[in-house]
Amino acid sequence: MAGTGTAHLRPAEREHVLRVEGLTVEFAGPERPSLRLGRGALPRARWRSPSGAGRGRPSSREGAQRVQAVSGISFDVCPGETLGLVGESGCGKSTVAKAVMQLVHPVSGSVELAGVDLTRVRGEQLRRLRSRMQLIFQDPISSLNPRRRVGEIVAEPLEIWRVGTPAERAARVDEVLELVGLDPETTRARRPHEFSGGQCQRVSIARAVAIEPSLLICDEPVSALDVSVQAQILNLLEAMKDRYGLTMIFIAHDLAVVRSVSDRVAVMYLGKLCEVGTPERLYESPAHPYTEALLRSVPVPDPSVRPAREPLPGELPSPLDPPSGCRFRTRCPRARDRCAAEEPQMQEVAAGQFVACHFPLVGAATAEQAA
């Protein structure tokens, strides 16, 4: 599992909004236990400077460990499609989002937005292209500047690109605020802290759709919200998608949420893809042991149902030193010697279902394993 390969990509001739191939992101790891305050071992995103200096630069210091946050991930998103990206915390989902936006420098790989490889452009051109993608974050409070008024926040992208006249911009702000279910009259002049989390997330969505991006990346947009509010926000995203024909990448750790919004689901584990498929296939008959374990761990809202035995033994291995071969093998009930020696490649096990596993639960290879 947790392999590489591009078998799951649609033919390059087909129209893509986004096509990511072999995306690899690494962060400088700790050199050694560090006593320096305020600059911990956590990966620190390097901003791409306007000059492009330092991009993709390998670790400057010898012996420094590298956090392999994302290792050779490929995926594509077709127009109007929603790709769901699931995986447990720390598997690199958010890093994928930032790397697609070029807010973090990929070490290698390509990110093609409508045919232009973003990893090869920089400066002004990148700034222009990047704004065709917009991000929605997990923390609705932190994603809005506490010192600016909602009207200004939503108008900001329009101001940056000088869309229309000031009057047109103001009208557009009112329009999107209304679209996301906020009353422009009462919200425009207020600051984010006067709103609830769900309302702030609506403001974020309004800001993101104000310039009609061709790709909307939602990074756990509902994880921080109450369950009752989650549904409202998901419906709102759905409505926005219909209205603007948005293409989305929807990142979450909640399988049920992903299932309801996605046209295609990709499962990530420790910086690699395990399985890609339509939600129907994936949820009915998972082919990857990790997908299966994830689905098994979804709680059943019935107190009389006893939880299945612990779904997965152990913890996520350190991305500083990932396991050889298949990255999932240390926790996989089906792991064999081959899994340590050889990294599985993406293969189609059923129509529209791709898996990177030597011993998938579905398809021809299953028989081979039984033998």
Partner: protein, 293 residues
């Protein structure tokens, strides 16, 4: 100050409690001192600070001379007011200049990080490592024209500004760090904002309020520094009064006429206390975590 309600991360405000009476007394005192200093030339009861009155030699407070006279019979009250003009000017001007330079360095270091931050902040650390007063003495001497006694208003302000830069840079950087990693900054980048726009529109509105309240504390520190320089005879020279040189001038007569030194001391003390009280109250509101320095 922006309206206090605009800060979401501040501690929950206890309902019905403002900043407290101590804060308002402090603000009142500062208003009086600043008002007197600014308007000194036009206020009738503030006399010419160099006018000699032979009848008031080392006199204690009286109706004619509210705080008495000094060893030349000059009106001590007027001299303190005029001295405050110099001390406060140096305090405010140096902090403003230090904030402009240190703030720029701190915000850019905290935002861009990387090698730039390392180089710039190391330079600041080197400056902080010098004993402040020694550095101030050296700077005043170096910046003054040869042969000049002490420093002019300009050289003293410049020297103290340079001293203030590193500390202000460190604090601004710390304040910037807490915001530069927030998602609204990432969102602004994603929208295509240039670095300059992100700094001006997203970072500064968050960093300026806490820095403004901190600068009150910085003014207090600078007034002490100027007082020390002045006492050592390196600041603005007599007969131009400053709080520091008034104290220095009263020192030899402490046994015969203690009020000549004590009144300027008391005014300076209360002013510093007021600055600290007001600055601390405002700083608590904006919560610049000194731990992060």
């Amino acid at each position: 100050m922006p309206d206090p309600g605009a800060e979401p991360s501040a501690e929950p405000v206890v309902p019905g409690r403002g900043p407290g009476w101590a804060f308002w007394i402090a603000v009142g005192w500062l208003a009086v001192i600043v008002g007197l200093s600014l308007l000194a030339p036009w206020i009738p009861f503030v006399k010419d600070p160099s006018a000699l009155d032979p009848n008031a030699l080392r006199d204690g407070p009286s109706a004619a001379h509210w705080l008495g006279g000094d060893d030349g019979g000059r009106d001590l009250f007027s001299r303190i007011v005029w001295g405050g003009r110099v001390s406060l000017f140096i305090g405010v001007a140096s902090v403003a200049a230090g904030m402009a330079v240190g703030g720029f360095v701190g915000v850019t270091a905290g935002y861009f990080r990387g090698g730039y931050e390392r180089v710039v902040m190391s330079a600041m650390d080197v400056m902080l490592a010098f004993p402040a007063l020694v550095l101030a003495l050296a700077l005043v001497t170096f910046l003054s024209d040869p042969g000049e006694q002490g420093g002019s208003l300009f050289t003293v302000t410049l020297a103290v500004s340079i001293l203030a830069v590193p500390a202000l840079a460190r604090i601004t950087r710390a304040a910037t760090l807490t915001f530069a990693q927030r998602e609204f900054v990432t969102a602004a980048r994603a929208q295509g904002a240039t670095h300059r726009r992100v700094i001006v529109r997203e970072i500064l509105p968050n960093v300026v309020p806490p820095m403004a309240s901190f600068s009150l504390l910085a003014v207090a520190v600078v007034i002490v520094a100027e007082g020390a320089l002045s006492y050592l005879g390196l600041s603005v020279q007599a007969p131009q009064p400053t709080w520091g040189n008034l104290i220095a001038q009263g020192r030899p007569q402490l046994d015969v006429a203690p009020h000549i030194a004590l009144f300027p001391c008391a005014v300076m003390f209360v002013t510093l206390l007021a600055l600290n009280l007001a600055g601390d109250t405002l700083r608590a509101r904006f919560d610049v975590r000194e731990l992060r320095l």
